[in-house]
Symmetry: C2
Subunit: 279 residues, 2 copies
């Protein structure tokens, strides 16, 4: 049996950075917590806890710990609450998410009417809106209804996981009804590269193990993409979930990891598969 | 015979404004000249001369007159030369042309790499370039080769007479290879509305008189558009050029005027046609 691991499996740049920041912080500070789990991967959260990085779900639960803002970022309201706590804050917000937040503020301050391509209820979009006092138009697709005054200055950004093609289509549509359009590309390509690779892998293997937190939206999406290619797909969190029978009569096996899946879990999965096949 | 005059014949907003400014100025000042003919229409230039508005072709020919900057605008170099002359300057540059010049400067100052959709040798583009020390990329169409660094901030403007569709196509193309794109719509729609109307008129008449200066590019373009519709077309400057034989066996006759054609010349053409048909 041949095993192929998707090239861009595992931690994306923002997650890698947030985990490293947490580990560095715990070397310097005695009490360290993240506000919410640092990433959507239970194994990684447990590992960090062992290293001294705890987590709280509510700001009220923070006493005197150094607080790490996780890669997903937080709302302006939560940030203000944290400041009021007078605790030390380490901001591990993904720079791409941060860029979108900064531009939301800047464009609004500069008199642009802000338009965000994204899902109204997604935490990232909620955070973006919080930085502009909800003063923006959120649109989920270029074909959706949008009510804009004529001849405005429009500033366009996107939730980082939106599709580039849709973003371009929306830009063209807005261009037709404004006098100025300032487009800031806030889409992160890592997501799409990973998805494209998973799709390709799914086409060429008999079975695919998608590895990552069951609470990780991006991992679940990878499994969905693989299944759409009619590939037998298992979404697992750890090697322990692999059943021996799932490896029977398999010539080509693929492994793909989500953006919040640590490398060592992927390695572990690979090791266990090889072991089962040997016995 | 039925006569139909195109609805948007004659002075565009910018030309109307420049002529009015000239006439107002000559009421207040003794010596008034325009730098270059105020518009590309010999009859209007003669009329203005009668009213006291002369013109010079060279800045060196200016002594102590009040100088009117014509609707097409001038280069930064010429503007500096004028300032050195210490004469009074009245700026009648079309506000749409001026907007493009102002944004060329602003975008460059704000760190955007300036891209201009336009013809390199067109006076308007030459003027635009002069305001940014030639530090811009001029591209004549969205399909043309363009060498840009990756991940730049790009500022996009257009020569005012470019086609909107091409401008949008270029915007989409630039969006793919930059990190920020600031598009300022500097295209003037008056040109296209006039051209579309002339095309429609040419389809529905037996003969079309396109009225305007022989040195007026936009008038010449109207005649070209009409001819492309296989309509018998005459480009004339004044009523005097109409030959009686050209009106023989005509049921439907059209008249269209360029952006720099005064209303009274169009009226004159109409009057003469009616007179010929009566005799």
């Amino acid at each position: 049996m041949k095993i192929k691991v998707a090239k861009n499996s595992g931690f994306c740049f923002g997650v890698k950075r947030a985990v490293n920041i947490s580990l560095e912080t715990t070397k310097l500070k005695e009490k360290v917590v993240t506000f919410g789990p640092i990433i959507h991967n239970p194994q990684m959260v447990s590992y960090l806890k062992k290293c001294g990085v705890g987590f709280v779900n509510e700001i009220d639960d923070i006493v005197d710990e150094t607080v790490i803002i996780r890669s997903h970022g937080i709302t302006a309201q939560d940030y203000k609450k944290l400041l009021k706590k007078r605790v030390e804050i380490v901001d591990a917000t993904c720079p791409i998410v941060k860029k979108a937040q900064d531009f939301a503020k800047k464009l609004t301050q500069d008199g642009f009417r802000l338009v965000i391509l994204g899902e109204k209820n997604h935490p990232e979009v909620k955070a973006l809106l919080s930085y502009v006092d909800d003063n923006a138009i959120v649109i989920s697709g270029p074909e959706k209804k949008i009510s804009l005054q004529e001849n405005q200055k429009i500033g366009l950004i996107a939730q980082t996981t939106q599709i580039e093609e849709k973003f371009e289509q929306l830009a063209v549509r807005l261009l037709k009804s404004c006098k100025e359009l300032y487009v800031v590309k806030t889409i992160c390509n890592a997501t799409f590269i990973r998805q494209a690779e998973t799709k390709e892998l799914a086409k060429n293997v008999d079975v695919l193990f998608v590895v990552g937190g069951k609470n990780s939206a991006n991992t679940a999406r990878l499994a969905e993409i693989a299944r759409a290619e009619n590939c037998k797909t298992y979404h697992i969190e750890t090697a322990a979930e692999i059943e021996e029978k799932s490896l029977k009569n398999i010539n080509y096996l693929g492994i793909a990891g989500g953006a919040s899946t640590p490398d060592w879990i992927i390695e572990d999965v690979k090791r266990r598969i090889k072991k089962i096949k040997k016995t």
